[in-house]
C-alpha cells in the first residue's frame, strides 16, 4: 500500500507541468479559468501545440502516432491540464473515432484518417443519439440502405456536440431490422458536406450553442465508409463506451473548481461578514472538499484495478455518479457564494460599461451559466440513473 506516485510518475508529472508552464498560451488559460467559451481556432491552436509535443492522442498506441500512455499517466496528464486551465482535448476524433479505427478500421481507413485527426485537417463529431433514443441507443431509427456501392442514409441525430465546427461525422445507423434491435446497427463515416445533410443548433438552457441536431435526407455515402462489418455497430459502440470513459470522475476539473470557490470565499461578504465566517456555508464546502479527496483515491484505486485487468463497468459508473454530484455541488456553491451578483445574463454583462465593474473575480460572470450548463454532466453520456441501473445489475447478479 503506497498512495504516492512512483519516482517515474513524479518525473512524468513534472514533465507535464513544465510543458504546460512553457507552452499553454496565457489567453487560453485565462479563458479556461474564467469558464469562457472557446472558439474553434482556440481549440485548434491547443491541439496543434499538443500534437507538436506528441501528446495529442493520449489513448492511441505509439505505432499509430499516439502517446501509448498507461492509465495512470493519462490520469496525471488530465489532472495537470485541468489544474492549469488548459482547454480540454476535443474527444470526438481523438478519443472516440481514433480508438475505434485502430481496433476495427481497415488499413486504408487508418492510413487515410488517423493522420488527418492528428494534424487537425478533419474535425469529427458524433452521430449517436436520436430524439427517441438517448440512453437507449438500441432503439435508434436512422436508416442506411445499401444501394449499389453506396449507403443511403435517412433520419435524424441529435445532441451532436460541437457539430457546428465539424467537417465529418461518425454515426450509428440501422442497416437491418432482423433479430434483436442491437444486431442491426452499423458504424459509418459521413462527410458533412454531402448533399442532404442539415445541421441545426440547439440552444441550451443557459443560452449557449454547444450541441446540434443533424438531419439526413437521402444522404449517399460510399460503402467503403463503413467501419468494421455491416451490423457490427453495437460491438463497436460498446468498445467505444469504455474508451469514452477515461477521466470520467473529473477529479482535475473539480479540484480546479474547488480552488476557485475557496478563493472566492475570501473575497465576498454575507450578512455583513466575510463569507469565510459563515460556518454553515463553509461546512458544505469543506464536506465537498473531503468528498473530492476521497474520490481522487477512489479514482486511483479503480485505475489500478483496471490496470490489473478487471472489467471497468460498475466502477466507471460509480466514478461518473459521484464525480458529477461533486462537481455540480461545487458549482452550486460557487454561484451561491455570489448571491444576487450571480444573476446578470452573460451576453449582457460582457457589455457592461467600465464603471459598472462588479469588483468580482473575472470568472464570476460565468458562474450561473456554468452551473446550468453543468447540469448536463449527470445527464449526457449515460445519465446517472442509467449508471445506477448498470451498477445494480452487476450487484444483484447471481
Amino acid at each position: 500500500m503506497d498512495l504516492t506516485f512512483t519516482p517515474e510518475e513524479f518525473a512524468f508529472r513534472d514533465e507535464v507541468r513544465a510543458f504546460l508552464a512553457d507552452s499553454l498560451p496565457a489567453d487560453l488559460a485565462e479563458k479556461g479559468h474564467n469558464g469562457e467559451e472557446l472558439t474553434k481556432p482556440d481549440m485548434e491552436r491547443w491541439h496543434a501545440l499538443l500534437n507538436e509535443r506528441g501528446w495529442l492522442a493520449v489513448t492511441w498506441p505509439v505505432e499509430n502516432g499516439g502517446t501509448g500512455w498507461s492509465a495512470v499517466e493519462r490520469h496525471i496528464f488530465e489532472e495537470e491540464c485541468a489544474l492549469a486551465n488548459a482547454p480540454r482535448i476535443v474527444p470526438f476524433g481523438l478519443n472516440m473515432l481514433g480508438p475505434v479505427l485502430i481496433k476495427f478500421g481497415s488499413d486504408e481507413q487508418k492510413k487515410q484518417i488517423l493522420p488527418r485527426i492528428l494534424d487537425g485537417t478533419d474535425w469529427w463529431c458524433q452521430g449517436y443519439s436520436e430524439p427517441g433514443a438517448g440512453s437507449d441507443l438500441a432503439s435508434l431509427k436512422t436508416k442506411a440502405e445499401r444501394d449499389g456501392d453506396d449507403y443511403v442514409i435517412n433520419g435524424q441525430k441529435t445532441w451532436t456536440t460541437l457539430g457546428q465546427h465539424a467537417d465529418r461525422i461518425f454515426c450509428l445507423v440501422r442497416t437491418s431490422t432482423d433479430g434483436k434491435p442491437q444486431e442491426g446497427i452499423s458504424f459509418i463515416l459521413v462527410d458533412l458536406d454531402t448533399p442532404g445533410i442539415e445541421m441545426r443548433p440547439i440552444k441550451l438552457i443557459e443560452g449557449g450553442h454547444e450541441v446540434n441536431e443533424v438531419f439526413f435526407t437521402d444522404v449517399r455515402v460510399p460503402a467503403s465508409n463503413l467501419v468494421g462489418e455491416e451490423n457490427q455497430g453495437w460491438t463497436i459502440a460498446k468498445y467505444l463506451l469504455t474508451h469514452e470513459r477515461t477521466n470520467i470522475a473529473g477529479v482535475g476539473f473539480s479540484t480546479r473548481d474547488l480552488q476557485r470557490l475557496q478563493a472566492l470565499t475570501e473575497k465576498v461578504t454575507r450578512n455583513g461578514k466575510p463569507l469565510t465566517e459563515d460556518a454553515v456555508f463553509m461546512s458544505r464546502l469543506k464536506e465537498l472538499e473531503i468528498d473530492l479527496e476521497a474520490l481522487r483515491i477512489t479514482n486511483l484505486r479503480m485505475l489500478q484495478k483496471a490496470k490489473d485487468g478487471a472489467a471497468p463497468g460498475p466502477e466507471a459508473s460509480m466514478l461518473k455518479i459521484k464525480g458529477t454530484v461533486i462537481r455540480q455541488g461545487i458549482g452550486a456553491l460557487y454561484r451561491t457564494a455570489l448571491g444576487p451578483n450571480a444573476a446578470p445574463y452573460l451576453p449582457d454583462v460582457e457589455n457592461l460599461p467600465e464603471e459598472f465593474d462588479f469588483d468580482m473575480p473575472e470568472e464570476s460572470a460565468t458562474a450561473a451559466a456554468t452551473y446550468f450548463n453543468n447540469r448536463k454532466l449527470s445527464i449526457f453520456g449515460g445519465s446517472n440513473e442509467i449508471q445506477r441501473n448498470i451498477i445494480a445489475k452487476e450487484m444483484l447478479r447471481g
Binding site: 443519439s129 427517441g132 438517448g134 440512453s135 437507449d136 438500441a138 432503439s139 441529435t158 445532441w159 440547439i202 440552444k203 441550451l204 438552457i205 443557459e206 443560452g207 465576498v268 461578504t269 454575507r270 450578512n271 455583513g272 459563515d278 454553515v280 456555508f281 452550486a332 454561484r335 451561491t336 455570489l338 448571491g339 444576487p340 451578483n341 450571480a342 444573476a343 446578470p344 445574463y345 452573460l346 449582457d348 454583462v349 457589455n351 457592461l352 460599461p353 464603471e355 459598472f356 462588479f358 469588483d359 468580482m360 450561473a368 451559466a369 452551473y371 446550468f372 447540469r375 448536463k376 449527470s378 445527464i379 449526457f380 445519465s383 446517472n384 440513473e385 445506477r388
Partner: protein, 356 residues
C-alpha cells in the same frame, strides 16, 4: 381556521391565470425577457388595468389589497406564468412609499403603472440593509449620493430608482432618475440594473426609515416565496406529463419506480413550501415578520433547488434546452434563491436571532 382565500382574491387569481394563459404565453415571455426593456410594455399596461399593482397596495394608500395573502395570490400566478414584468420592484417600492407616506409617487405607481425600483444592495454588501455602504450627504438644499447599487430588480425599465443610503440619522431613502443606471437581463429572464452614484443629486424621501425598507424587503421575500410555489407547481406538472409520454427501452419512463419516488419527494416539498409561505404571509407586518419570512425563504431555497434540479434530471436532455419551457422554470427557481437572501443568509439570521 380557514385555508380558503376570499372570493375577491380567488377571482383575482382566476382572472390572472386566464390572462396569462390567453394573452401572455411562455413563448411571448421568452421573446421579451432577454431584450431591452426585458418585459412587454403593452402587457404591463394590461396588467395595470387588471389592477395588479393596486392589489399589492393597501386601501388607505389607494389600492385594494397589500396584505400577505394578496401578495401570495398575485405572485403565485406570476410564478406559474414566469411573468417577467417588474412587479417585484413595484411591490417593494409601493410598500416602502406607503410606510413613509410618499403619496404622489405612490399614486403614479398604483394608478398609472409608473415603474419605480428599490435599490438596496451593493457588490460588496449583497444582502444586508444595515450594512449599506452608499452614502447621502446634504450640501445646502441638495442631497448627493455616492456608491454602487447592483442588480436592482426592475431597474432596467424603471423611470425612478429609490436608493437606500446612509445619512447622519440612519439609513434613509432617496429618489434618483433611472437614467443614471445601466440595465441588463438576468439569466432567468427579466431586467435588472446597476447604478453607479458619483455625487449624484437625489430627492430625499426620508432621512431615516430603515425599518420601513426592511419591511418592504420582507414583502419582496414573501412575494418570491409565492412566486416559487407557483413555478414549482407548474414545473412538477410538466415533469409528470413528460414522464408519462417519454419512452425508454420500450417502456413509458413514468413507470420506473425510482423516478416515481423522486416525483413524490418533489411534491412533498412543494406542499411544505406552500405551507411555510402561507404561514409567513399571515405574519407579514407583525413583530414576527422578519422571523417567518426568513423561515419561508430558507425552506423555499431548499425546496426550489431540489425541485429544479430534480426536474432537469428527470427530464434528461430535453430539460437542458432553451426551447423547452421547463428549462426556464428551472432557471427561475434556482435564481430565486439568489434574490433578497438565500437559504444560508436566512438560516444564519435565524441563528443570530436565537442567540440574541
Amino acid at each position: 381556521m380557514d385555508f380558503t382565500h376570499t372570493e375577491d382574491r380567488r377571482m383575482l387569481a382566476d382572472s390572472l391565470r386566464r390572462y396569462f394563459a390567453e394573452q401572455y404565453t411562455i413563448e411571448e415571455r421568452n421573446a421579451v425577457a432577454y431584450e431591452t426593456p426585458y418585459h412587454n410594455p403593452a402587457k404591463w399596461q394590461e396588467l395595470v388595468e387588471l389592477g395588479i399593482p393596486a392589489a399589492l397596495v393597501t386601501e388607505t394608500a389607494g389600492g385594494f389589497g397589500g396584505s400577505g395573502f394578496d401578495i401570495c395570490i398575485v405572485f403565485e400566478e406570476l410564478g406559474r406564468a414566469l411573468c417577467p414584468e417588474p412587479l417585484l420592484s413595484t411591490l417593494m417600492s409601493s410598500n416602502v412609499l406607503t410606510s413613509i407616506k410618499a403619496s404622489d409617487l405612490l399614486n403614479k405607481i398604483v394608478n398609472q403603472g409608473h415603474q419605480v425600483a428599490l435599490a438596496v444592495f451593493e457588490p460588496d454588501n449583497p444582502d444586508t440593509l444595515s450594512h449599506v455602504n452608499t452614502t447621502a450627504t446634504q450640501n445646502g438644499d441638495v442631497w448627493q449620493l455616492n456608491g454602487h447599487k447592483s442588480v436592482i430588480y426592475g431597474g432596467a425599465s424603471a423611470t425612478e430608482i429609490l436608493v437606500a443610503a446612509r445619512t447622519e440619522s440612519g439609513i434613509g431613502l432617496f429618489c434618483v432618475s433611472a437614467s443614471h443606471s445601466h440595465g441588463y437581463a438576468t439569466i432567468d429572464g427579466g431586467g435588472a440594473a446597476d447604478l453607479v452614484l458619483v455625487d449624484t443629486e437625489a430627492t430625499c424621501l426620508s432621512e431615516a426609515c430603515e425599518e420601513s425598507i426592511e419591511e418592504a424587503l420582507n414583502a419582496g421575500r414573501l412575494a418570491l416565496c409565492a412566486e416559487a410555489v407557483g413555478a414549482m407547481d407548474v414545473l412538477h406538472e410538466m415533469t409528470v406529463e413528460y414522464l408519462k409520454q417519454r419512452q425508454q427501452f420500450g417502456t413509458i419512463i413514468a413507470t420506473f419506480q425510482a423516478l416515481q419516488h423522486r416525483l413524490v419527494d418533489m411534491a412533498v416539498e412543494i406542499e411544505q413550501a406552500r405551507s411555510i409561505t402561507t404561514l409567513a404571509a399571515s405574519k407579514l407586518g407583525t413583530d414576527e415578520s422578519s422571523q417567518y419570512v426568513s423561515k419561508a425563504k430558507n425552506l423555499i431555497g431548499r425546496a426550489a433547488t431540489l425541485v429544479a434540479e430534480e426536474a432537469t434530471q428527470l427530464h434528461g436532455g430535453i430539460g437542458m434546452t432553451w426551447e423547452y419551457a421547463g428549462s426556464h422554470y428551472t432557471k427561475r427557481l434556482i435564481m430565486i434563491d439568489h434574490q433578497l437572501g438565500d437559504r444560508f443568509v436566512h438560516i444564519n439570521r435565524l441563528l443570530d436571532e436565537s442567540a440574541a
